[in-house]
Amino acid sequence: MARIADHDATAMATLFDQLAPLLRGMIQRMIPSPDEAEDVLESLFLRLWKPMGRQGQSKEGPEGASLEAWLFITARRDAAEWRRQELRQPSLRMSVEEGLASPWLPKSREIDLLSSRLDLVGRALAQLPKAQRQILDLVLYEGLTEVEIAAAFKEPQGKVRDHVRAALSFVRQRLHTLMGTWTADI
């Protein structure tokens, strides 16, 4: 991380080689054009060399903060913004803390542990009711808001909001159990 903050191109290229395939897989699910998806991906990595939001020039998170987690969450936001621009929908870009010093960023060791148990996350998702899972996909990969989903399905906004938030909370709580005990099975 320190080498990347020092504008070391070799370190950045190594990071790209390690993480671009997974990030590209996620971005291409939201942006069908490979060229456009690649532009979003490259710009994301290059942003590591620019001042970021309220953290100024700081690229270093709290000790052990996961750059991988930051890249995934930020890539999803960037891809969603790209989709909204294409569809001429209003931007959702808000003043969400973008710096790597964000106090909520998971630690690298947590991400490593989670990455080794992703099969269980898939099983937690499979336990969601079909309607909630469908709506979750629209939120995560279509970048739709609760209001837009309600309009698309002609459902009351409150019902859609409850579905979205219940699904996200369910996954989070299952994950907490999983991360809390290494041998947990769900």
Binding site: V96, S102, V139, L140
Partner: protein, 80 residues
């Protein structure tokens, strides 16, 4: 300040997918180091990381890697 009403919005906050009023409330809690909200956002970030994993990676082509390295070189030059 009680932040139980924010518990179901942490993922949406990180996705940038909630209204400005709710977003501002969470940001305010983060700014004053609210332990409940920071913990909730931390758990939400882990959850999102898992949910966003692709079914399979898409490897870089030689052209894509070369293009990125070129942009990297230009960005490095601009910094110096």
């Amino acid at each position: 300040m009680d932040c139980r009403h924010l518990e179901n919005t942490y993922e949406l906050f990180l996705l940038g997918a909630i209204g400005e009023t709710d977003a501002a409330r969470i940001q305010e809690h983060v700014d004053r180091a609210c332990p409940n909200c920071i913990w909730g956002l931390h758990e939400a970030a882990l959850s999102l990381f898992a949910l966003l994993q692709p079914a399979k990676p898409v490897l870089s082509t030689a052209r894509q890697r070369s293009h990125f390295l070129q942009r990297l070189k230009e960005a490095q030059h601009a910094v110096k």
